[in-house]
Amino acid sequence: MIEISPPSKKSEKNFTTRLESVDEFDRVETVGEMFVDRPKVSCLGVSVHYGDKQALFNINLDLGRNEVLALIGPSGCGKTTFLRCINRMNDTIEGCRVDGEIKIEGAEINHSDADVVSLRSKVGMVFQKPNPFPKSIFDNIAYGPRIHGLSGPKNELDDIVEAALKRAGLWEEVSDRLHTPATGLSGGQQQRLCIARAIAVNPEVILMDEPCSALDPIATARIEELIDDLREKFTIAIVTHSMHQAARVSQRTAYFHMGHLVEVGVTDQMFTNPRQRLTEDYITGRFG
């Protein structure tokens, strides 16, 4: 496991001096293994602006097949922004501009002709705060298959719902109350419901934005187990503020800092032997 040492006064000071020299950051070159063979998703030179403010600078990063990639970094560094590029959710934000190349299975998705609806059926997303629809548990899961025409007769839909709930490890808890309001579930159950909802449409990639931030350790452990299971079938990118979680669930970890991708590495190696000073400060708890 990784070691977390208490922040020392000295290194904190060092850190702030480095933070102030922003010019230096503008030339940040990502170090580490950001590219993989036959990537599922590949991002090349991705920059994002919110109005005049640039939130991401020239990000190069691949998501491998059947891999869990952890995105870590201090608050406001652009992890959510990056995640939302991959399913084009940034389109919904007024004034947000995404430049660069984003390919899924080699097909460019970041241009205006790309079909956003079919993209989002291939790239599911789980949000930081559980956001079940104010409908029944069944309708929550069935919504995606319904609008994408994945289901024919009613019993087929039943099967899809059951399979999704089973994969998300929620079936036992809710099988007897499928038609009760989803908002009546606990926070952890709601989050697993949202995961079930995302996998019900059989996506290829699942983006998770701090899925456990509102959950207790037991619910967190269940979701981590679930992520491990899901990896067999899906490619997963997960944003987390917990180093432990990143270490437990991911194969590779990417460290973002102020809109730059500072370092990408195999998780074990990154936590034991970070190559960048910034990364080291962050994961040893001297920052954030």
Binding site: M89, E94, F127, N131, P134, I147
Partner: protein, 431 residues
């Protein structure tokens, strides 16, 4: 409770700051309570006044008269045809019967005073009786007919009787007849159905609200059909699609301004544009409905936008991330959640429109329309305009009618607000 807590903390006496804070708190609460009390009292006073002067309009005084359908008096053969019966002068039949029943009244002006005790509608009543049943000819009948408004006012106590004759609505002689008939059980009061079915009339005892109710309903229907879909669509566009830039800001400001424009301006607009330019028929529910829609639109748009804005963005994100198109997101998720607010706002807008008078006067919906309108292209009156016209009338009989009409419009408003509450409860999802 609060006080007890502060008293015991640390066993120390209350600091002066604490005392002042609590006093301010109590004073503030009392001022609020006073405001609520004042508002309630004014509403009760208003309702009390209206009710006490209006409830009597819901019943009418009737007199019994003996009518001899004598073929000689009617100037027809003993087995008359319908044509003959239609040509009969029923006014003179009635007068002659009165002469027979009250032979002691000889003077011409006295006789006229006697006839004036009864409603002007008596000849019409006689005619319809005979036409519907010709076998009445040759028989004697006791018939209950409406009294005149003046007699009724005295009878109900709505007009003073213990004053000098020339200021009273009835003469001394008429007063004697009234008392005499009352003593002989020749008077009775009945529920005033006519009030809900007939149109306006020169005689207060015959006037009703039926035409105005239908006119208002048709106008409101047109308003609803135009302003609800347009308002909701506009709100959806502005809230969900429109880019947030200068243009949409200007539109927003103008919509808010539009909600504050005096209603008579909309009436002028209707007059100038709808009637004079487009040549739509004057004084019809169609034109009235269009004008009121313009007035109601801003209310509906503002309420709907607020309702749409209140839908948590996380629901939109969730739906979009599932691959729903923006339209699917709106119709499957956002609109159902916003519906209670939209409906409430729309109904409040329509309730405002129901009470609107000035614009309807401008576009000519004040015509004296005796018939109930049968469609949106017929000349029509409306509830508030009818109230306005009755309130203007000098005759005493219209006072109770005005108050009664206000009661009816209040009933409609209460009903609409209850509907709003009901719909909100029904569509509201507490989950």
């Amino acid at each position: 409770m609060n006080r007890g807590f502060s008293r015991t903390t640390g066993g120390k006496p209350l600091s002066s700051l604490n005392i002042r804070r609590q006093r301010a708190e109590r004073r503030f609460r009392r001022i609020g309570l006073f405001g609520v009390g004042l508002a309630l009292a004014s509403v009760l006073f208003l309702l009390g006044t209206i009710f006490s002067s209006g409830y009597s309009a819901f019943w009418r005084l009737h007199f019994a008269v003996d009518i001899d359908f004598d073929p000689v008096l009617m100037n027809v053969s003993s087995d008359p045809s319908l044509e003959e019966l239609r040509d009969v002068n029923y006014l003179s039949l009635f007068r002659k019967n009165l002469e027979r029943s009250y032979p002691e009244v000889k003077d011409r002006s006295e006789r006229r005073k006697l006839a004036q005790m009864f409603s002007e509608s008596v000849p019409d009543v006689l005619e319809s009786l005979v036409i519907s049943n010709p076998s009445l000819v040759g028989s004697k009948q006791r018939i209950w007919v409406l009294s005149s408004s003046s007699a009724e006012m005295i009878y109900k106590g709505a007009a003073p009787r213990d004053i000098e004759e020339k200021r009273r609505v009835l003469t001394d002689q008429q007063l004697t007849w009234l008392d005499q008939w009352h003593g002989e059980n020749l008077t009775r009061t009945r529920f005033n159905f006519r009030f809900f079915t007939s149109g306006p009339s020169r005689s207060p005892e015959l006037a009703g609200l039926g035409g105005a109710i239908v006119g208002s309903a048709l106008t409101l229907l047109v308003t609803l059909l135009i302003s609800f879909p347009m308002g909701v669509a506009a709100a959806i566009y502005l809230e969900e699609y429109a880019p947030k830039n200068r243009v949409s800001e200007i539109i927003e400001v103008n919509i808010n301004n539009l909600a504050a424009v005096p209603s008579i301006i909309f009436g002028l607009l209707g007059l100038a544009v709808l009637l004079n330019v487009f040549g739509l028929p004057r004084g019809t529910p169609l034109v009235g409905g269009i004008v009121l829609s313009l007035m109601t639109l801003p209310t509906i748009i503002i309420a709907s936008r607020a309702a749409l804005k209140a839908v948590p963005p996380s629901i939109r994100d969730g739906a979009l991330a599932m691959g729903a198109s923006p339209m699917q997101t709106i119709f499957h998720h956002v609109l159902p959640l916003a519906m209670p607010g939209i409906l409430t706002g729309s109904i409040i807008g329509l309730a405002q429109a129901l009470g609107e008078t000035a614009p309807l006067l401008m576009i000519g919906m004040f015509a004296f329309v005796a018939d109930t309108p049968s469609g949106i292209l017929d000349q029509a009156s409306s509830l508030p305009v009818q109230i306005y016209l009755w309130a203007e009338s000098s005759e005493r009989g219209y006072v109770e009618l005005t108050a009664a009409a206000i009661m009816i419009i209040l009933v409609f408003l209460v009903f609409m607000n209850l509907l709003a509450v009901f719909l909100r409860k029904k569509f509201e999802r507490r989950w």
